[in-house]
Amino acid sequence: MTPDPSFYETLEVVARDLYVKALQDIPTDVRGALSRGLEVEKGEGNATAFRILSTILENIHVADEQKTLVCQDTGLPVFRVAIGNRLSLDVPRLQESLRRGCERATAERPLRSNTVHPLTRKHTGTNTGQGIPIVKFSFVSDSDQIQIQMAPKGSGSENMSFLKMLNPSEGITGIKKFVLQCIFESGARPCPPMIVGVGIGGTSDVAMNLAKEASTFRHIGSRNSDPAVARLEEELLGAINQTGIGPQGLGGATTALALNIEWAHTHISQNPVAVNIQCWRGERAEVVVDGHGNTTWK
């Protein structure tokens, strides 16, 4: 179907509202994981960790009540768009709507703008620019809807990103050692407790993309559908939490809220592993839009 004429204006408003919602309203699965972490720290008598998680949960509550931002970092806007195959979309117009939505959120809310030129460090002032917003597309069969997920990816955690082209002979052991090493090196900087995303396989850029999907768009409590990968998720999460790095890197049992892995097949001579970290806020917002512009917020 061809969308209604007002569809792209609707998408612009949706993009604006997604950005603001993501910054103000922490997802339910993240809240639950933080609460569970609080109970664990209480049970283990980790007073500092307990105090930190209490403050985090109180902060989320204050943001709910006052309808303010949870954290001051408005991040870089990342959209993940799944397009139904029965929707005839003008994709460049869709991209423009997403970009305009980010600009409107920044101007109207207003939001701190973070986008700078990588060489001159000159601000654009709009949270948009060359390559920003970042938009990832996927395509869905038997659907006439568009699903949009938005994550304002914070920089403290994003700076803790890693890629290694391991040798196949290093095996799964090599993958585990590398992931633990990345977490150790990151320490307190990505605002633990964190959501760790691991990408395995593909080419190098695919591995990094998979890691981003795993850290930023997978829900806490979900498991990879491949049983071996799911086992690795569980094992790595346990190992990370045994390090005792804890909330804000000040010690405790809750270093990671989740560890998610996404994978792709890879070359016989490759063993790519990427790690991307999402901070405790796990910010994302989701909406489904049909061709008439009706929205269902998740």
Binding site: Q72, K176, G187
Partner: protein, 204 residues
């Protein structure tokens, strides 16, 4: 683990008594600084336009709105990772007599040594808790170097600012270092096996 309410600017005795994992709340006035502010002071050699002696410096670039009268309204003020700005910290303590740095992520050994030598501490704020932090900042009293927006030199009046955890004290102790050392030990003890019934590695 003691709890203190301190009035900023601080005296040396205020910080020398603090131990790791003590909790601090701050009343009074604090300064906000970030990368660009310190690049100007230390790399470009421009003297800070305010007296930082005895001060508490917060690592931040606040989200603000400029009002018609030239003052700034707070929108969202949080804290950024300190570790990037580690190389400036000893200078803040030695040259400008800053008594406490508030941030997240911590600082390194050189800064810890300077805290010991000059009498200062690192107070860890809960990173990302900007909703609370913004409430605790009562007013943006002054701002200098607006051309660096938002990485200006800011002066905030605060009330019950915290809870802040003493993460690096003035006696050479660092909670970050202790935690990392323990983590290194734990990781060394972990055994990394191939998963059972996995196809193994390489080609056969």
């Amino acid at each position: 683990m003691a709890e203190y309410i301190l009035e900023a600017p601080l005296e040396e005795a205020d910080v020398r008594k603090l131990k790791l994992e003590d909790t601090v709340l701050i009343n009074g006035t604090i300064f906000g600084i970030r990368d660009a502010t310190q690049i100007r002071i230390f790399d470009e050699g421009v003297e800070p336009p305010a007296d930082l002696s005895g001060s508490v410096c917060l690592h931040t670039a606040p989200g603000v709105k400029k009002l018609p009268d030239g003052k700034y309204q707070k929108l969202s003020i949080g804290t950024t990772t300190s570790t990037r700005m580690d190389r400036f910290a000893p200078g803040l303590l030695e040259k400008y007599k800053v008594r406490a740095i508030v941030g997240k992520g911590g600082l390194l050994q050189g800064s810890l040594d300077a805290m010991h030598k000059f009498g200062a501490v690192y107070l860890a704020i809960v990173g990302g808790a900007a909703a609370i932090e913004t409430c605790q900042i009562e007013e943006i009293e002054e701002v200098w170097w607006e051309d660096l927006m938002p990485e200006c030199l800011w002066k905030f009046r605060v009330r019950n600012f915290g809870p802040l955890v003493v993460a690096m004290d003035s006696q050479g102790h660092s909670l970050y270092r202790d935690v990392q050392q323990r983590a290194a030990g734990k990781i060394a003890q972990l055994t990394f096996d191939e998963l059972p019934d996995s196809p193994g590695c390489g080609t056969s």
